[in-house]
Amino acid sequence: MSFDPILADIRFGCGLSPAIAPPDSAAALLAQLRAPDAIAAAFPVETFPQFRQRMVERARQTKIRRNNRGTPQAEAARKAARRLNQVARKDAMAWLAHHMLRRTHTQNPFRERLAFFWGDHFTARGKQGIIWRGTSPYVESAIRPNMTGSFADLLIAAVTHPLMLHYLDQWNSYGPASPAALRSRRPRGLNENLAREVLELHTLGVDGPYSQDDVRQLAELFTGMTMQVQVGFKFDKHMAEPGAEMVLGKQYGGTDNPHIRDVQAVLRDLSVHPATAAHVARKLAVHFVSDVPDPDLVAAMIRRWRETDGDLGTVYAAMLDHPGAWDMSRPNVKQPVDFIGSACRALAIPPDALTPPDEKALQQRLFDPMALMGQIWERPEGPDGWAEADSDWITPQGVAARLQWAVSAPQLLMPQLPDPRDFVISALGMRAPRAVQFAAAAAETRPDGVGIVLASPAFQRA
C-alpha cells in the first residue's frame, strides 16, 4: 500500500476527470494547497463581509417599515425586504452550483475536499432571516483561507465568526454579573451552547477530559463575544463576566479589562490539547480514508499534530505519507456532495450547464436530489454536521436517490453524454470492475449506461 495517483484523485480529490491528470505524488497532492486559488475566482462565492451588507440592507428596510407603519413607504420597504430574501436564496443556489463547478474543473481538488471537511467540522448556519443563506460566505471567509496553517488559527476564525456566534447563541450570552446584564431591565444571562460545542465537537471531543464546570467557565469566558449586523464580530466588554475563569485547570482573564485575547488564549490552549489532537486527527482519517482507519495511521497523525502544535499542512502530510492512507480494504462511501461533485467531474460538465443559474433547475438537479440522498445542503441537523459512518448514507432511500439521480440528471447537465464504454474507464480508471464494464456496454441507452457507472459501488466508494 503506497501512493497511487488514481486512488489519490478519488480519495483525496474530487474523483477522476477526463480533462485533468491526477497528482503523481503525495508532494504534488500537498502542493495543490499552496497553489493560487484560481478556481475560487473562476466560480466565485461571496465573502462574509460582502454577504453582511445584505443583512445591513435588510435591517435598514425593516427599520423604515417600523418607523412608517401604515404608509406606502412601509409597504415599499416590506417588498424590498422580501426581494432581498429572494435574491439571497437565488444566490445561495448559485453558490451550490459554483461549489460543484469548482469540484468539476479545479486543478487542486484536495482544497475543495478540505474546505468541505472543515466547514462541516465547524458547522454553522443561519437560523432566521437573510443570514439563513450565510453558510457558504462563512466557509469562504473563515475556513478556506485557514486550512493549511495552525489549527489554532482555524479554530479561532471559526469560533469567533459572526455566523457561529449567531448559530450557537453566543451573540446573546451575557455574563450574569456583567455591567450590561446588571443594568438591563430584561433578564440577561449566560448561554452555554457555543462553549459546550467547542469542547465537545470542535476540540476535545465528547469523551474528552472536561466537566460541566469547564463548560460553564468557558461560557463565562466567552461572554463579550457578540455579533452586530452593522459591524459583524464585536467584543463588547460590557457583556463580559467580570473575574477570572478556570478552564481545564488553567486560569484565564481576570484583568479589569476583559478582552478577546482571553478567548483566543483558551482556544490556542485547546487547539494543542492531546485530546484535541486525538479527536480531530482521527476524524480526518475517518473522513478521508475509512470508517475504521488503520490505528497506526491515526497514531502517526496524532503524533505529528503534537510535534507541530497542530500544524495542519504537516498533519495532512503525515496522513498521505502513511501506507494506511492507501488501504483499499474498507473504503468510504462518498457523501452526497462528493458523489454529485465527482460525477460532475467525471462528466466534465461544462460551466454553462449550471450557469447562468436558473434557480429552479438547480434545485431540481442538485439541491432536491441531495436532500433525498440524506444531505440537505448546508442544513445538517445539528452542530455535529454530517455523519461520517457509511451506514448513514447507504440506506434504501439514499441508494434509490443516488441511482435515480445518476440515470436522469447527467443528460440534463450535458448536451451529449459520453459513450458508456469509454466513460466506465475514464470515471473508474483501468481497474473498473468487469461487472461495471459489462453493464455499461449492456445498457439500452447512453443515459442508463452512464448512470449505471455512476451508481456502481466502485464509483460511490472512495
Binding site: N191, R196, P369, L372, Q404
Partner: protein
Amino acid sequence: MTLTRRRFLTRSALLGCSAAASPLITPMAFASAPWDNRLVVIILRGGMDGLAVVRPYGDPDFAGLRGDYAPGATEGPADLDGYFALHPSLRPLMPMWQAGHLGFVHAVSTPYRDKRSHFDGQDLLEAGTGSLGDGRDGWLNRLLQTVPGAEAETAYAIGRDTMAVLSGPAPVSSWAPDSDLALSPQAMRLAELVMSEDPAFAAALAQAYDLAGSDGDAVETAPEMMGGMSENMIRTQASGTEGMARFAAERLRGDARIAAFSLNGWDTHNMQARGLARALGTLSQTLLTLQDGLGGPVWKKTTVIAMTEFGRTARINGTGGTDHGTAGAMVMAGGALRGGRVIADWPGLAQADLYQNRDLRPTRDMRAHAAWVMRGLFGLDRATLERKVFPDLDMGADPGLLL
C-alpha cells in the same frame, strides 16, 4: 432483508405493467406479524422542554420559574388535572386526552447525566443502555431480536433521519416516503448487477425497490421511461412529517407492528415561545394523522411513545429560552393506552429540589415506562426486558399504562 437475484428479476420483469406498483401481487407481501398490537416510537430530537409542554402550574414554585401560566377554558394552557396544564399548541389533542387516548409521564429521563450533549443523549436514548459505549444496537432492534417470526417488514424506520433505535442485527425496513425509483427494467437489472458484489449497496437497493412500489407514489412504468427523461424524475415529493405519519399508519395497518421516526426542532435555547409552538404543532398534527390513518380498530391496538434525550433547565435563560437539562416529559398516545393521566412522582421545583440546582430532577428511568408498554403490548417477560432489551434496567412497579 435479502432479496434473491431471482426474485429481483421476477419483480423487474413485472415493472412493464402498471400493476407492478401494487404490493399485493408481489411475492414480498406475506403476512407474518408476530403479534397484533402496534407500537410507534417517536424520537423528539433536540431536548423537549417538558416543563413548558406539561406545565405543573399547581407547583408553588412554577410561576416563579416560568411566569404565570394559569390555564384558560378556551385559550392559553389547557388544564389537565388541576395540577398540570397542557401547552396551548397541544390544544387540538384535548379530545384525545378526554377520550383517554393521550397521557404523559413527567419528571423522567434516560440514565444520561451531566454532560448534556444532544448527540450522546440521543445515542443513549436510542441504545436503551445504562451508559454510553455499551453497544451500538437500538433497543427496538434488540426487542425484535427476541421475537421469533419477526421479519424486516415487522418494523419500519421512517424518514430521512437515521433511526439508531431500530438499528442492529435484526432486519428492519426503512424508507423515506418521498423517495422514488423510476428506471427501465433493463437499467434496474444492471444496477442490481453492479451492486451485487457489495452487500450494503445490494441490500439497500433491494429494499428500496420493494418500497418504491408500495409507498403511494408508484414506480414509473416502462413506456413513460422510453419517452425521455423529464425533470420530474429527479424531483422530490413534498416531504414532511405528515407524510411520515401517513406512511407509518399505512404500514401498521398491514404487516408492520413497529414504526419509528423522529420529529426535530426541540432545541429551544432562544426565544422559545415561538420555536416550541412550531414543534408542538407538528407533534400534534403527527398524532392526529396517526389516529386518523390507523382508523378505529387498529388505533385501538396502538400505543405511541414520544421521548426526548433530556429536558431543559428549570429556569428561563438570558435569551428567553432554556438550556440543556435533565428530566423531562414523555408523551404517550393511542387507543391501547389508559390515558387521561399525567403520571409523575413530582419532585418539586423549589431550589433545593432541582437537580444540580438547575434542572427538573429525574424521578424514574423512562426506559421503565417503555418496557412496561412493551410488556403489555407484546407479552414479553420481565427478564427479557430487563436484561436483553434494556440491559440492567429495574422496571420497578407497573405504572398501569395500558388498558
